[in-house]
Symmetry: C2
Subunit: 431 residues, 2 copies
């Protein structure tokens, strides 16, 4: 048995500094859990001031090769983020026989297959609990605890920034732009807010979750993605009026052997557990054939929550190093399921239109729906305001391409001023 398990830490940013703190603070507890000291032996970080601030200059590695080639380093922790150089570093670490812990959702969601295959070939493990949901345990529960289930659906609020914005809009009546500014002021929005606001962050996360849940690889680019920038206060008010709320939902479900994986603003019933997830909190809802519905809730971002997940992985990796045992849970994408085109998904829709207020308008619109097999569940008319009125529709479950066909006809109607928004609706039971 080793007395020390040595860690090479790549990156000392938000997550890395959290990892440093957690490993330092609970040193004795981890010793008891693993039977060896968990020791950071070297740190790679361009910004030397960060290393200095932690009094860890003695650990600074001038070059990554000093970590990757050090035979005493058992575990490489990658918390640099982004594709390169993280990808090359991880692949090299794998080929050197090191266990790898990473928080890198972008990398996993795009190159997961390459990385996990390399790990498989070299008999090492790659742990990535922190890549989705920050500190919320979800990867391991899905991969292990729920392994007895056929997973039917995974649905989550997995991006704190957008959830903060939508919560501010719903609760305080801020416009999207105002809420975004507030998020940036508080440090919740990344420098380039588009990764969050346009749904790409959530798309990477659902690609990772879907790959595990459905035993079939999904990459980020295969996820239909739509952001929240078009959500208006009117949409939110209508949602509330009919007992719904609007969330940026990342969703993956299997239907007839095909996967339906997407990220978009979604109306969900207020009675759904995800409706109560507010501010920067995240939650992931999983439906399995045996377990029924389970939900995992917590802080989806931040230095310490992410560090919690990374250190959990480090402890797991360290145990495997101690017992000379790794590569036990391999990549579980042993199937290859088709990903359904967005044209072919079926769901309900909320539609808001500004129309001319005169007789026969509703009839014309309803005809366009009917001609395309779009059946309506409810209609609300507001107005008139001056010469115009607002019409809100909720459709029954309909194929997306039929909805779009009806909308292109409706756009052409001279009585329709504008189709203000189209938002997909999830019923309590996959409506």
């Amino acid at each position: 048995m080793k007395k020390e398990i040595n860690i090479g830490l790549l990156g000392l940013g938000t997550v890395g500094s959290g990892v440093f703190e957690v490993l330092t603070t609970h040193r004795e507890n981890f010793q008891s859990k693993v039977g060896a000291e968990l020791k950071i032996k070297a740190i790679l970080e361009k910004d030397v001031s960060k290393v200095e601030a932690l009094g860890a200059m003695n650990l600074l590695a001038k070059d990554v090769s000093l970590i990757l080639n050090d035979p005493q380093i058992d575990i490489v922790v990658e918390v640099i983020g982004g594709i390169e150089p993280a990808k090359s570093f991880i692949l090299q670490a794998i080929h050197k026989g090191k266990q790898v812990v990473t928080a890198n959702k972008e990398l996993l969601a795009n190159y997961g297959e390459e990385i996990l295959e390399a790990a498989d070939g070299c008999g090492v493990d790659v742990y990535f609990e922190a890549s989705v949901g920050g500190g919320i345990p979800i990867i391991r529960p899905l991969k292990e605890c729920l392994a007895g289930n056929k997973i039917l659906k995974v649905m989550g609020v997995v991006n704190g920034t957008t959830n903060f914005i939508l919560t501010k809009m719903a609760e305080e009546g801020l416009l999207f732009k105002q809420a975004l500014k507030e998020a940036q002021r508080r440090g919740y929005a990344e420098r380039d807010s588009s990764v969050d606001v346009e749904g790409h962050d959530a798309a990477a996360k659902i690609a990772i979750l879907a790959s595990i849940a459905f035993n079939s690889r999904v990459v980020a680019s295969e996820v239909f993605t739509e952001g929240i920038s078009k959500v208006s206060l009117s949409d939110i008010a209508y949602a509330q009026e009919i007992g719904y709320t609007i969330k940026l939902i990342a969703l993956a479900k299997e239907e007839n052997g095909e996967l339906d994986v997407r990220v978009h603003p979604t109306m969900i019933p207020l009675s759904h557990p995800l409706a109560a997830v507010k501010g920067v909190y995240n939650a992931i809802f999983v439906e399995g054939d045996a377990v029924g519905e389970v939900m995992f809730f917590g802080q989806g971002a931040g230095s310490m929550p992410a560090a919690s997940a990374v250190v959990g992985d480090i402890i797991d990796a360290a145990r495997n190093v101690q017992y000379g045992r790794s590569g036990m849970i391999r990549c579980t994408c042993f199937e290859s399921k088709k990903i359904r085109s967005i044209d072919d998904i079926e769901t309900s829709y909320y539609l808001l239109m500004n129309v001319v207020d005169k007789p026969g308008v509703l009839a014309k619109i309803a005809k366009a729906f009917g001609d395309n097999d779009v059946s309506l569940a409810s209609v609300i008319q507001k107005g008139p305001r001056g010469p115009n009125a607002e019409l809100m529709f909720i459709t029954h479950r309909v194929r997306e391409k039929n909805l779009r066909a009806s909308l292109s006809e409706i756009t052409e109607l001279d009585v329709v001023n504008e189709i203000c928004n189209v938002i997909r609706v999830e019923g309590p039971r996959g409506g």
Copy 2:
């Protein structure tokens, strides 16, 4: 590598038949996950009709020794429940070198140390994910994913029967007895409802969770336990009036190196995530120094949810059998922390009294509180109804023995007709 992993199933009741169904239904998927077939080789069940109903008479073992002494059986799954004969069977299986999966909360909460030490000595693993929270992943997340944290608090709604009863009382105005009958009618209450209603089931579960969370053994008998039979509709109405709800909460926290572990009806703010857990659902809320607050939510009982947890454990055990690797995560109770007496806990209290409606009554009661260092946060008076009135108090945080001392003085006051109820209050931040 083995082609088959053989399972001996002890018990074919509610959980056992679920396990049988899940293992049968997803055979191929498990083969892919484990690299071997998971095969039930023998079933022990007194009630032969249950075995017959599943068409599994060829698997019926006439005696447990046929399972325990069969060298081909790798994993013994105990879903009989209760202390004996489950305990003897499990210990024998351990000594025969078999991996053990059990759903037995009573056994773990009372003899966990003996069983885990035996397993440690024999280099096998005992898995017990299904012992708490039915299908909700909580044992492994707490033991592994959150291992990087110092856990500050575990707090849960872990008994579906009592939660169903309290939900019915709060939402439909049923009396306790009526709600209990409804629970029995629906099969949610066990034959002897006292195990649920008096809090013993929840006490066993929090003992198991606390042992893991705080790395220190807690047995069921050390948990202060109070049931819900005294909760009245008045208590529930007052709770709602001040923005709270009443739940049977199982709670464990560490303060100054001591453990505070208890089960009792508790007022929690409506804004707390546990307040939204209704009906037979369970949820466990965990606070860690790094992760912050996380919550796990789902169905806490039932054949299939429990089977989900058991089969997750079986898959894990089977992987370890495949790779000849077990005993990696041992009992983590490597510390020995004092369990605080109920006299010494500190919390807030809700008190409801029926008093004589005349001048000076409040002064007398307030004096008794003040003399015992009990400070009040709020007071509501209702009435008079005839010669009497109702007084509700919420105290600030106070030591329980001080509260009790004040109440014995108050009981003696001739202006006090009755102290109707005393319910502990948890604030959003451990108030």
